[in-house]
Amino acid sequence: MDLQIALLLGQDGVTNGAIYALLALALVLVFAVTRVIFIPQGEFVAFGALTLASLQAGRLPGTVWLLLAMGTLIALIEGAAALRKRHFRRIPLILLLNCGAPLLLAGALVAVSSASLPLLVQVFLALLLVVPLGPMIYRLAYQPVAEASVLVLLIVSVAVHVTLIGIGLLFFGAEGSRTPSFTEVSFEVGDVLLQGQTLLVLVASVLLIIALYFFFERTIYGKALRATAMNRTGARLMGISGSLAGMLSFTLAASIGAFSGILISPITTIYYDSGFLIGLKGFVGAIIGGLASYPVAAAGAILVGLLESYSSFWASAFKEVIVFTLIIPVLLWRSLTTRHVEEE
């Protein structure tokens, strides 16, 4: 291996690592706030990428139907609850939010041909279609069992994951998609060619991480999420309900997932089930951070990206094996060095 290849692999590793880092942060966030190990995190990556690809091909993305179906289901559940409690004034809002907004979006997509829209509008539309799925999934799958044990929540996660994979196959088909590059610019630094798209992924990831930092440190909603993660009872007593915190963290996780998918879809071909493996690598990063520390999780995810990229050069057949085997020494190290804290 000469320096040029090493740099090239490093560039690759850091780019993928940045995406894994975003996903790792989302996983830590969701676990800290709701105790859910969010296996379907990767599906948002695939859904984001494939929804954007559908829009660019001028097709109506299948995620619209999912949005409409889940919105209707939630409107039924919430509407029934409001009727039972005689909160009649809440019903119009429930309908508007869960049925009206998705219908409006679907109508807009049917009316205009999405292929001719500028790229940024397409990206925005893709996010609008995929991000609401996060809180909706929380409302339907997790909120009813929010007080259950971590294991039960994990089983729910597996079920949601398998369901979403199936739905993805139905909506997007078995063939993969790749979206055109956001930018064709490339730079030559020494002997190495830096792709503009790679830089874009890095810069966007860093910006998103900074934005998340500000959200958690400076806004009252961000602080409320951190408070919920620290002390659930204390947060409830301040009026920060578990479902509010859950919805909020799932919205963030879905945004991060969809955004990551949109970022990487010009670099790799995404299939309906590609998200799982990408999400799992983020998960390895999150585990390195003990599902608790954001900076360690992000650093761990970068390490995963680098490890993957270099092992693909030396032992490409084993690259996934090497990455996932990393989890064993990490778990050993963590269980030996950290003291065990009983769950309340």
């Binding site: 409690k85 009252i220 602080k223 409320a224 951190r226 408070a227 620290m230 002390n231 009872t233 204390g234 947060a235 409830r236 007593l237 301040m238 009026g239 920060i240 309900s241």
Partner: protein
């Protein structure tokens, strides 16, 4: 300390009738009835395990109850939730304080106003100044992590955080627990101060002497039932209370 007992305009903030709470098959509270008026401190004293914390957890909606709870003139239905009661101005300062340990004092206080912020009120900075007036010590510690505070400061922070919600009914669970006598004195002085702000306070205490000194009215809770009640000046003279809860010092 002595408000007129039957003033007609005294509005009832909380009225409880026939309140029972079960943990599985075990009945922890049985047929409780009590009343708290606006601007009044009501204390519930009793030994360990009498059900004092259970009573407050039930009132704030953390535990399911049987019986009738009327809060601010409204009967609480079965669907009541902590969040709803917080929105209506009921706030609990729990026995374990439940602070956000790895956040600064200031952020802890800020989150006390979370529900008001969410409801559209933007007066949390003024409220925080008032809390700092009440607890100058918190002002000095405003940038410190909550976990680094002393026991007394933690209790102050827990109370300050509750006050950020501008409560109409403040439920205090054992504010003296684990604190030094001098600190207890300071905490109770503040409790007496809060009364002047028009907050109704339901104070649950093992430290009967301190509680009866500051309260207007008192109840004695024993093994899940209220055994005695009366204006606190009378209660502190009651022979049974003196023997069981106050000891010799109560006669002074």
């Amino acid at each position: 300390m002595s408000t007129l007992p039957e003033q007609p305009e005294r509005t009832v903030v909380l009225e409880v009738r026939g309140l029972s709470v079960n943990y599985g098959k075990v009945e922890a509270l049985h047929g409780l009835a009590l009343k708290v008026h606006r601007g009044e401190i009501v204390t519930v004293i009793g030994p360990n395990g009498a059900g004092k914390t259970t009573l407050l957890s039930a009132l704030i909606g953390l535990l399911p109850v049987r019986g009738e709870i009327v809060y601010l003139g409204e009967r609480q239905g079965a669907g009541r939730s902590v969040e709803q009661l917080v929105r209506q101005g009921m706030t609990l300062v729990p026995e374990k304080r439940e602070l956000f340990a790895e956040m600064s004092v200031e952020d802890n206080l800020l989150l006390g106003a979370f529900d008001r912020y969410r409801a559209g009120h933007r007066d949390h900075l003024e409220t925080m100044d008032q809390v700092f007036d009440t607890f100058p010590r918190l002002m000095e510690r405003r940038n410190q992590m909550a976990a680094t505070l002393s026991g007394g400061e933690r209790q102050m922070l827990a109370m300050g955080r509750a006050l950020m919600a501008k409560p109409r009914l403040l439920l205090l669970d054992e504010p003296s627990l684990g604190l030094a006598p001098l600190v207890i004195k300071e905490i109770f002085r503040t409790v007496a101060q809060l009364k002047r702000l028009g907050v109704a306070i339901l104070l649950v205490e093992q430290n009967a002497r301190a509680a009866l000194q500051v309260a207007d009215y008192g109840y004695v809770l024993e093994t899940g039932e209220l055994s005695l009640e009366g204006p606190s000046s009378e209660l502190s003279m009651d022979r049974r209370v003196i023997e069981s809860y106050l000891g010799l010092g109560g006669r002074l």
